[in-house]
Amino acid sequence: MKAKRNNMKAQTLYDKLWNAHVVRQEADGTALIYIDRHLVHEVTSPQAFEGLKLAGRKVWRTASILAVADHNVPTTARAQGIADPVSRLQVETLDSNCAEFGVNEFKMSDVRQGIVHVIGPEQGATLPGMTVVCGDSHTSTHGAFAALAFGIGTSEVEHVMATQCLLTKKTKAMQVLVNGTLGKGVTAKDIALAVIGKIGTAGGTGYAIEFAGTTIRGLSMEGRMTVCNMAIEAGARAGMIAADYTTINYLKGRPFAPQGELWDKAVAYWHTLHSDEGAQFDQVVKLDAAQIKPQVTWGTSPEMVVAVDGRVPDPATMSDAVKRQAAERALQYMGLAANTPIAEIRIDKVFIGSCTNSRIEDLRAAAVIAQGKHVAANVKLAMVVPGSGLVKRQAEQEGLDKIFIAAGFEWREPGCSMCLAMNDDKLSPGERCASTSNRNFEGRQGQGGRTHLVSPEMAAAAAISGHFVDVSKL
C-alpha cells in the first residue's frame, strides 16, 4: 500500500514542466502560465505587434523573444532581396517591429538566419525546463529538450508579448514508448510517421505526448527534434522527451546557453526533467522499433501512411464510411490507383528541408545516398534547403554541398521553402513530390501538388531512382 501511495506522487515530465510555470489558476482549471522563450516569425506576428501599438502596450520581456523571417524568404539569390512585394512587406514589417520594440532579430542577411525551429535549439535559445511558444504549430519541436513547447495563434502571440503569460488549461498526458533497435535505413522520421499511422492524426488531440523508451533515448537531438516536431501531426500540441546527457552535450557552449557556474546549476536542474518511476499517463502507446520500416504517405493526411514495401490501400476494404470517403478523395487528388505498390510510384520533384528534416544530420544522411549517383531523368527538380545559415555552412565545410550538386541536386539558401510554398518554391498542379516535410495536405506544397512524406534517406533515394525505393535494401 505504501508503495502505491508513493506512486501516486510520481510526476510525469509534463507535470513537472507545467507545475513549475503556473502563475495562477481559475476555478475551472484555466491557468495563467509563464512563458520563458517566445520565438517569432514574420507570418503570425504583424497583427500581434499592431495590437500592442493600438492598445499602447509594451513587450513585457524583450529578452525572451528571438525573431527571424523564415516562411517568406527566397532560397535563391538572397542578396537581391525578395521579389514578391507582398512577401517583402511582411518581412520588412517584422524588421521594423523588432527595431521599434527592441526585439532581437536575425535578419535575412545574417548567417544565423534560418527556420525558427532550427535556430532556436542551434543557438541554445531553447533550454530544458523552459516553456517555449511560437505562432507556429511546429513549436512542438522544442519539446525534444525537455521543454514544454507548443504553437499558439496570433492573439496569443500578442498576449505573451504583453503579459509574458498564456491562458491555457492542462491537457491529458500520453506516453509513446518506442523500444528496440531501428533497422537499417529506418530513421526518426519513420518513427514519427509510424506513430501517426498508429494513433491517427487526431490521436493526440487533447494530449501532451512524451516520447520515451530505449529507441528514443538512442536518438540524437536532431532525431528527437524530428519526432517531437511531428507530434502536432498526431494532434498533440506538445511533444517532449526527457533531458539526458545527449541533451546536455548538445547544448554546451551554444551562444544562448548558460556558462560557468550557471551552467552547472542549470545542468543539475535539467537532470530532474524526466518522468518519475511509476508516473501515471492517461494513455500509453507502445511501438516496437524493429517492426518499423521506412514509411511513405500515400494520401492527403499524415495518417495515410504505409511502409515502402506496401501498397496504396483500397478504400473499398474500409468499413468506416467517413474514412472510406476520405481515402477515395485522397486517391483521386493524389492521382493514385488502389493497390499500386509504393515502389512503383514515380516522382517529379524532391524536397529535402523543413523544420522536420533540415538539420546537419539529415543532410549527411541524404548525402550518403546521393554520393556518386545522379538524380533520375524524370525528376525535374531535386532541392536541398538547409535549415539555417549555420547548418548550410557546416554542410559546406563537410563537402556535402559538392556531393549534392554533383548528383544534380540544387543547393539552396535556408528557409521554410517548399514545406508550405509561401515563397517561389512550389509544386505545379499534378506534380508529385518526395518531401521530407511534415504535411501532405491538399495544396500544401502548391495548388494541385501531390506530396509524399518521407525521411531524408528515402527522399534522396527517390531522387536517384525516380521512384520510391526501400532504403533498407540498398
Binding site: A20, V23, A27, D28, L32, Y34, V43, T44, P46, Q47, E50, H71, D84, V86, L89, Q90, T93, L127, M130, G135, D136, S137, F150, I152, G153, T154, S155, E156, E158, H159, A162, T163, Q164, C165, L167, K169, T171, T201, A202, T205, G235, A236, R237, L262, W263, K265, A266, Y269, S301, V322, Q325, A326, R329, L420, M422, F441, E442, G443, R444, Q447
Partner: protein
C-alpha cells in the same frame, strides 16, 4: 472581441473529416499583415476553379459549382457543420479570421484540433463539439430541408432545431464567460500584474540562467 450570446443562423454542411487550416485559408493569403479581408479567400482552392492570389479581385473568378458554399441555398450561412478533427494542421489564426470574415459565427463538428479550437474563442467564433451520431443527424437534417436553421444559446449551452429537438453542448466556464461578455484576454490578464511579477522574481531566482 465580438460577444457571442445567441445565434439563430442558417447551417452549411462541409462533409469532410480532417479539414486542415491550409484548406481553410491557403498560404499565399498569410502574407497579409492585417487581421481582416480573408473572407473572399476562405476555402479558396475548393471554392474557385482558378488559382487565387492576395490583392486580386475575387468577384470575377470562376466558382466551383460543386463546392457546397457556392450553392445558393447556403448563401448567408452563419453556422458551419463539419466532421472530425476540423481545423487540424497549421496554427494560423487566419483560419478563424477567414471563417468569421465570411460570416460564420459558430462551427459544429465531431471534434476540433486543439490550436484551432483555442483560436476560435479569441475571435468571437464558437466551436461546438457534438457526438458523431448527433453530427450525423444534423447532416441529414440539413440535406433534407432547404434553409435549415439552428438556434444556439451559449448561456444555456443548447442548440435548438426547428423540429423542437434540443442538443446540449459543453463549453469551459472561463471561455464561456469571455465569449458572453466579449472580454479581451490581455486586459483580464493584466489585472494580475502583481502576481505575474512575483512569480517572475521567484522563477528567475530559482533558474537564474533564464
Amino acid at each position: 472581441m465580438q460577444k457571442f450570446t445567441m445565434l439563430n443562423g442558417l447551417v452549411a454542411p462541409l462533409d469532410r473529416a480532417n479539414v486542415d487550416t491550409d484548406a481553410i485559408i491557403p498560404k499565399q493569403f498569410l502574407k497579409s499583415i492585417k487581421r481582416s479581408g480573408f473572407g473572399p479567400n476562405l476555402f479558396d482552392e475548393w471554392r474557385y476553379l482558378d488559382h487565387g492570389e492576395p490583392g486580386r479581385d475575387n468577384s470575377g473568378r470562376p466558382l466551383n459549382p460543386d463546392f457546397v458554399l457556392n450553392q445558393p441555398r447556403y448563401k448567408g450561412a452563419q453556422i458551419l457543420l463539419a466532421r472530425e478533427n476540423f481545423g487540424c494542421g497549421s496554427s494560423r489564426e487566419h483560419a478563424p479570421w477567414a471563417l468569421g470574415d465570411y460570416g460564420f459565427r459558430a462551427i459544429i463538428a465531431t471534434s476540433f484540433a486543439d490550436i484551432f479550437f483555442n483560436n476560435c474563442f479569441k475571435n468571437g467564433l464558437l466551436p461546438i463539439r457534438l457526438a458523431a451520431e448527433q453530427v450525423d443527424e444534423l447532416f441529414k437534417a440539413v440535406a433534407a430541408h432547404a434553409g435549415y436553421k439552428l438556434a444556439i444559446d451559449l448561456e444555456q449551452q443548447t442548440i435548438s432545431a426547428l423540429d423542437g429537438k434540443v442538443y446540449k453542448f459543453e463549453v469551459e466556464t472561463f471561455r464561456k464567460h469571455c465569449l458572453l461578455n466579449g472580454l479581451d484576454d490581455i486586459g483580464l490578464t493584466l489585472q494580475h500584474v502583481d502576481e505575474i511579477k512575483s512569480y517572475e522574481a521567484m522563477h528567475r531566482a530559482a533558474q537564474p540562467w533564464l
